[in-house]
């Protein structure tokens, strides 16, 4: 039983990372209506930008560097949308092309990271952590901070969507872009802001993933991508709250299962849940109602 609670604690950490990543992906999907297959590499690049500021450029504390890395990734996402993805999405009606472009972008970004930082495993410059006993859990201070960041972000996203003008415009656009445009919403501005938020959350998720794992590798984001997809599909594609719920479900199941099976396969559990969802509830566990 002790082992179960230990794994449950790790599950909460994974769920926290996953929730940040899944919400970032879902925000952008809701607005642009296509999946960004380079999202895993957005995460990786964000974590390396943090690394650069943390270890060589400015030697900032990792938590401050993280803010820089995330925001920089947000800006990069905006630029990529402005000059690459946006034009493709507008020019070609069917989503095939832009999906292939994001897939290609993923390969390019991965190789950019390889070229600059090489393939070696690296780690942030941060003090060795004491493990803390909190109830039945064994967690480091860093893991606790990650969980706190995640919870605060989820609340912020919720408040933004429900109360701000921006959030209301975003929800209107995600329901019906044409209608939103005719009712005077500046869809282009909203799209830009959404890409900024999505990129920032990706960079943040990539960095906290590297912090909780204890190291960074170029392909870590890409390999994490299918876990994000699992969370998003289980939660119901396009639903922000579904993404949060899916993240908790997938995060807990993968880590708890790792206590009982070979941990090498723990992420594959996410895929099994994904398949079961497709078989029995293809629109997701927390799907919103059918659209016209």
């Amino acid at each position: 039983m002790a082992q179960f609670w230990l794994a449950f604690g790790f599950g909460l950490v994974t769920a926290s990372v996953l929730a940040i990543a899944a919400v970032g992906l879902s925000l952008q999907f809701g607005i642009t209506n296509y999946i960004n297959f380079a999202y895993g590499d957005f995460m990786a690049l964000g974590s390396y930008l943090t690394y650069e500021v943390n270890t060589s450029l400015l030697h900032w504390n990792v938590w401050i560097a993280l803010v820089f890395g995330s925001l920089a990734m947000g800006v990069i996402a905006v630029l990529l949308n402005r000059f690459l993805l946006g034009p493709f999405a507008r020019r070609f009606q069917r989503s095939f092309f832009v999906l292939i472009v994001t897939f290609g972008l993923s390969l390019i970004m991965l190789n950019v990271i390889y070229s600059i930082w090489g393939t070696n495993v690296r780690s942030y410059n941060m003090p060795i952590e004491q493990v803390l006993h909190i109830g039945p859990f064994l967690l480091t201070r860093n893991q606790l901070i990650v969980m706190a960041i995640s919870v605060v972000l989820m609340v912020l996203v919720h408040v933004m969507l429900k109360t701000t003008r921006l959030g209301k415009s975003m929800r209107a656009m995600s329901d019906n872009t044409t209608l939103a445009m005719t009712s005077g919403i500046d869809t282009r501005r909203i799209t830009t802001i959404t890409w900024f938020l999505s990129g920032t959350l990706a960079g943040l998720a990539g960095t906290v993933l590297a912090i909780t794992e204890g190291n960074l590798t170029p392909a870590s984001g890409e390999l994490f991508l299918f876990v994000i997809f699992a969370a998003v599909i289980v939660g119901g594609v396009g639903s922000i709250y579904g993404a949060m719920a899916g993240a908790v479900l997938i995060g807990l199941t993968t880590e708890v299962s790792a206590a009982f099976i070979n941990p090498a396969y723990k992420l594959d559990i996410a895929f099994i849940i994904l398949i079961l969802t497709l078989l029995f509830r293809p629109s997701g566990l927390f799907a919103r109602p059918e659209r016209a």
Partner: protein, 274 residues
Amino acid sequence: MTSTGQSMSSPDAFSESILSCENITKSFLGVNALNGATFDVPKNKITALIGPNGAGKTTLVNILSGAMKSDSGTTHLGSVDVTNLESYKIARMGLMRTFQLSRELGGLTVLENLLVAPKVQAGESLFNIFLRPRLLQREERQNIERATEILATYGLYELRDNRARELSGGQKKLLEISRGVMAAPTVFLLDEPMAGVNPALIDRIAGYILDMKRQGMTVLMIEHNLNVVEKICDFVIVLAEGKTLATGRLSELRANPEVVQAYLGEVISAGTTN
């Protein structure tokens, strides 16, 4: 039949019903698009489905053709219950439809668009392609000959080798209708076949629709232009707020104050001016 309309003549006055629906409901995000639509479409007649915008006409065509599932209610094609069957199964039973905004198969040529339409083709099986090439050739020749005749009738013959996406709006409308005819349906649902085409073409399309009836098809068409309805349609179904408001001949409906209030009055006064 429905509960609301008054001067309703039953399709018995015409002939037996071939397509019918009963108490169809459908809602999107909590908004009711259809609210218990019920009617019969008489066999081998041209029936118009009219109603104000948002009455649920296109939703109804989508449900009848299987492109969309209804929330409740039943649909019958002949005596067969086709409620919420997949659209390809309904199509194979002989029901074709067109779309409000033409949907051509853009990468295929005009001729190929028609050649796709025959419902069962031996050449669509891997087995036949490699083991029965002669059967394939014979079938393909028959289909091409028939498609050529139809294209000639619809004035698209010269365009046969053009990709469908290169056609003009009116030509795409004609292509879509001729593609449906190629499938030799028993029931043909036309979703605003005259919308957005020039007056000369309206007359031609009306002629084609009369031709379909002459060939034994049953036509159900969504149409806003009451002049056209008046000229070619035998029977009219009025849909308002997702319900069947009334059915009958247009002349009878014009005497129905409910119908006039819901729809006819304004459109007629606007329609007679053009």
